[in-house]
């Protein structure tokens, strides 16, 4: 079928370095992927188009790029599944990392965040003579995270990293979970304390984008949530993040509706008057935009609150 690849290119050697869009028109087969198309371009039309690719089978993690506005592995994305009626597909380099040339990005910042979580097994004492024993379930569970191929796709589309470069990011956090959940690792508490710091596990805003785009089903955000649960269970010092989760639950339990002023006050605590005051402009803006409920900023329990409380009781019994 007739396909147009609209590629966002970047020439670092132009004076000055220059970004531009180039369209390549080609024929593709229904079985072909976006990577097949790009390779065809490189091999028959324009060998100056730079991209990384190697295995063609979604295992090496080289060909992460944005296709029609979402990051993906080009080798795993069928042309037919993303091409609209006119056959034009938008291809750009991954976001949240510097571009070297065309679709090739600099992965150094990605790897420095991975290194930040000390990504190696830290077992206790000296190793046994044979293997460590571990339950088959634990190992099978870990294989779901270990199948991460470090392609950078989740990092590219992470909405927190877009505004906060200090966030360690979904790939590194999923990797951290791989060690926290490993029964052979002895550094769990140290790891959780480190992840409890600003930029760590509490900075994810749960937008789900990383789950959506991950080509290997690693579901990074779910791993981040599991880290938080592990952290709270291990009683790492409370932070605004963990208090937010606790206070949120508590308010719902007692009022059945989110009481936002209370949430802010109790999350930050009265010690952090400065941060509370910092929210005043946002509150005022909300008032002007009509975002404050008619009943006023303070909430009473909703009618039928006992139903909600029954749910909480049932959940406690279950867990």
């Amino acid at each position: 079928m007739k396909t147009t690849l609209r590629v966002r290119r970047f020439d670092p050697e132009a004076d000055p370095p220059m970004g531009y869009v180039q369209e390549y028109r080609l024929e593709t087969e229904p079985s072909e992927t976006v990577l097949d198309g790009l390779i065809k371009v490189r091999e028959t039309l324009d060998d100056s188009l730079a991209l990384r690719c190697s295995c063609r089978g979604a295992i090496c993690g080289s060909c992460g790029m944005r296709i029609n506005g979402h990051a993906a592995l080009a080798c795993k994305t069928k042309v037919i599944s993303v091409a609209p009626a006119d056959g034009t597909i938008e291809v750009e380099p991954m976001h949240n990392m510097p571009v070297i040339k065309d679709l090739v990005t600099d992965m150094a910042p990605f790897w420095s965040k991975i290194r930040q979580i000390q990504p190696w097994l830290q077992p206790p004492g000296t190793a046994p003579k044979a293997e460590y024993t571990a339950s088959p379930e634990a190992m099978t569970h870990l294989s779901g995270v270990m199948s991460c191929i470090m392609c950078g796709v989740c990092v590219s589309d992470c909405t927190v990293l877009e505004v906060d470069k200090t966030f360690v990011g979904p790939a590194a956090l999923a990797k951290a979970y791989r060690f926290v959940a490993d029964p052979r690792d002895a550094a769990t508490l140290r790891r959780l304390n480190a992840l409890n710091q600003p930029g760590g596990m509490w900075d994810c805003t749960r937008c789900m984008e990383c789950i959506q785009v991950c080509p290997k089903g690693v579901a990074p955000m779910d791993r981040i949530m599991a880290l938080r649960a592990n952290g709270m269970a291990a009683k790492v010092p409370s932070t605004c993040g963990s208090r937010h989760a606790e206070v949120f639950t508590d308010i719902i339990k007692h009022k059945g509706i989110l009481d936002e002023p209370m949430l802010a006050v109790r999350t930050f605590g009265l010690k952090h008057v400065g941060r509370l005051l910092g929210m005043v402009p946002m509150v005022l803006q909300s008032v002007f935009k009509g975002k404050v409920p008619k009943s006023g900023p303070l909430h009473r329990p909703i009618p039928g609150i006992h139903h909600i409380q029954r749910l909480f009781k049932r959940m406690r019994v279950k867990s």
Partner: protein, 571 residues
Amino acid sequence: MTTSPLYDVLIVGAGLAGMRAAISAYEQGAKVAVLTKVHPVRSHSNAAQGGINAALTDRGDKWEDHAFETVKGSDYLGDQDAIEVLAREAGKDIITLEHMGVIFNRNEEGLLGTRRFGGQKRARTFFVSDFTGQALLHVLYEQIMQAKIPVYEEWFVTSLLKNDQGHCSGLVAFEIRSGKFSLFRAKTVIMASGGLGRVYEPSTNALICTGDGMALAYRAGAPLMDMEMVQYHPTTLKGKGLLITEAARGEGAYLLNKQGERFMERYAPTMLELASRDVVSRAEQIEINEGRGINGCVLLDCRHLGRSFIQERLGQIYAEAKTFANIDLAEEPLPIRPGMHYQMGGIKTDTEGRCWDPQGHWKGLPGLLAAGETACVSLHGANRLGANSLLDTVVFGRRAGQCAAEYAKTIPAPVISDSAVQADRQLIETLLARQGPGERAAALRLEMGTTMNRYVSVFREEDGLETARQHIQSLKARWSGIAIQDKGHVFNTGMIATLELGFMLDCAEAIIAGAITRTESRGAHFRTDYLDRDDEDWLKHILLYHQADAEPDIHYLPVRITQWQPQVRIY
């Protein structure tokens, strides 16, 4: 131009063999660096799916059984002293990997679990679902990060350097990101740059598998051995040739022909689908050639294994079949065919990984070591058993790293001049300066690949091999007519494709030279004009030495036999 610090051990390639070598040399206290054309976790070791063999003697397995099955699998061309080392040391290396953090599958007692693989009567393949290679590769990279071993990522080697005594003393490489050349000084170099699959089209191999290390060593004077032994894997997808793991058959999948017959009953009555790979690939090709295939394929049937079992133990190929062949393995059989997969031959080494022989039985390149698919110890002889390649990388990677580190302590710092860089830089500038219209590297590679796949594949004969030889010669001549459109120095992948094609043409020439020379059928090398194995004349290795502008210089080495005399090979 820059010059690197002096390294005791410089490793080319960061797959399993390269990283294992780096860790073991580091543990010996050597000053180590790794240089690789892709980031370590992009290496092709990733693609090994099914598992890694080892006879764990504390659970009643015998290393001798593993060794014998490897010898038999090799069709008696493997060197038995090397195979004994492999089988004896395997158990310890598996445990080391587990201690490093590999999440091997466990049995109910929480101990390492196994699955069956081809050519072996006992289940001794350890695995992580069906992405064992990836699981190992990422763990070794974790160890590299922990040890802070320097890695030159995305550097491309253009030649090996020798000092005045003919000792390998470093290499010339450029950084792909900038195009800048550098001289790397090293007391020893370990070549661990993987295979040469792209010499063929199609191939299961990744696009980076272009035989760089073999060609670089060959050009520098190290011999290549048993290059005619190219493995065709029995289960690859039509089209691009993606791999479907042997673990599918190990876990119980059947091979069926058009009539729905389990045809392996006729070819290997005892081992059936789990006969060794050369046997199964030949059987499939015969079925296809005699009209019992479907569109050039036979069928891999997993349906009776059940959906949940397939998804847990074979999840990756389940997804692969769905994405690339649009088939649900739990409901439909998958069309597959034999496809080029692995090079048993490579740079000749001894059991320590050395590409030279201190005893002087053969001539090599002192200072150079090799490990993994790029090397030929020889373990795999004429046919490699499934799940022995991962084992090869960790056992012989470790040994090469150790040997290099110890050897480096005994020799002085090498003296090399930086003029060596000039020639390579000049070559690049000449290539870039050539104005079009010229030929495209990709077009020449495709011609090479289809020629090799047609004439130097499962079945071979003299006329076809001669045709292939002439075609490769003509492609070598046309190589210098390639014009690259990209005139820049940053990430010039057109340039890299051209240099890689040069390496691959040397490899292709060596494969064909070996295949023409060996007038018998053994393992993966099946000559329709010489149907039988001929132990009297051919129980020996073929060594090829590079000669500029001439056919390779051919030498022979006897096979080393310790305890298993050649027998008729029946599965």
